[in-house]
Symmetry: C2
Subunit: 200 residues, 2 copies
DNA sequence: CAGCGTATCGAATGAGCATTCGAAGTTCGA
DNA sequence: TCGAACTTCGAATGCTCATTCGATACGCTG
């Protein structure tokens, strides 16, 4: 069962193999669904025996948790880092949405899994961290929208509705984005921001 | 196996029981997930034996198909009916989004299942009808957005991006809407439309 | 190169599940 | 009321799957 090597020389390989497994799992879960994917299939994708996965993960659900953590942790961290840059509200919003869309696009398999398995994540103590991160991120966006409004860059009948709309459009991007598509992540983000920013 | 009674007197009961099963399945699939829900549990929810469900449905997947059909068929039908009303573009859009949000809210369990099982629906011949309906609906919205733009009610850098944004925000509504919430479906719809309509 | 921490294997285990089906019960229509 | 159509039952079937575990192989480190 999941034991990180004590010997430093072995950690790099351990961490790399573990990350590869998460990446492959995200890809396969996104395509076939979490429940429809057996540990056997996952192991085949990686070219190892099924039992070997249990050296890196306590069980199948740990893979799911790892996928969600890989998705939310860096997103929240980057969004929080942006807070310190002291940008004016409208520019801050644009920068945040760009960063966010880029993250969604970069991790679209993670996103698809996250959305598909919403019902699992909503309940269960092992998911508390993921839920907390998501709430913190949404809170951060909401506060920024308030500042955008205060600065006169927009006027919403209902700010929380504007927040939900933004969450919906950005997260939905994972469902249709293709790397070979017409628009790059920045253009997509700007298109969204243009819908949200208009002088009062 | 699924045989609709020939005797008219029995059809009403058959149709009702079948519809109840679909409704209950949508509720439970939305909460626990399709794969995590056993036919046994579904049967218990309905107060019947597991085997009895097979009198109404050929198999578990038929329940899923029925849920998606119940979701898409009436939505597409209502949206198409609206086309005949000859409304000017901006009003037409508002009417369509109101109808659409109301439908999503009314069938939010169906929507959640539809979204969660996206990967199943994307492939497989038995899902062609559902896929066709969704495409037809999206096409209809896209054409309407074009008319809105032509009429000078909005100007999008990229119309398909505006379409994706609208799809994202409306469909996302199923994830947060609560009947006891602050906003009613019309107010939600109007909030979305306000983001999309602005003079060029 | 010896030995321990590490990594992988792969067969075995046991649980859960969708589906089947023959029997028993129920309801309608004549 | 009788027979046929319809409905429900629930135990049996056979499969898939997550997980375990003892054995084996590998590779640092001293």
């Amino acid at each position: 069962m999941a034991t990180r090597p004590t010997r430093p020389a072995l950690r790099e390989r351990y961490d790399r193999r573990r990350a590869e497994a998460i990446e492959a799992a995200a890809r396969t879960f996104a395509r076939r669904g979490y429940d429809q994917t057996s540990m056997q299939q996952l192991a085949e994708d990686l070219g190892v025996a099924a039992g070997s996965l249990y050296h890196y993960f306590g069980g199948k659900e740990h893979l799911l948790i790892a996928i969600c953590d890989e998705l939310m942790d860096p997103l929240l961290a980057r969004a929080q880092a942006l807070e310190g840059d002291g940008l004016p509200p409208a520019e801050h919003l644009r920068a945040l949405v760009r960063l966010w869309v880029a993250h969604v696009v970069e991790h679209r398999n993670h996103m698809l899994v996250f959305q598909q398995e919403r019902h699992v994540i909503e309940s269960g103590a092992q998911w508390k961290g993921v839920r907390t991160d998501r709430k913190a991120f949404e809170r951060l966006v909401e506060d920024l929208l308030a500042r955008v409004e205060d600065a006169g860059h927009a006027r919403y009948d209902d700010r929380r509705l504007a927040l939900s709309a933004l969450l919906g459009m950005v997260n939905h991007t994972a469902q249709w984005y293709r790397p070979s598509g017409r628009l790059d992540p920045s253009a997509i983000a700007d298109g969204y921001v243009d819908l949200l920013l208009r002088p009062a």
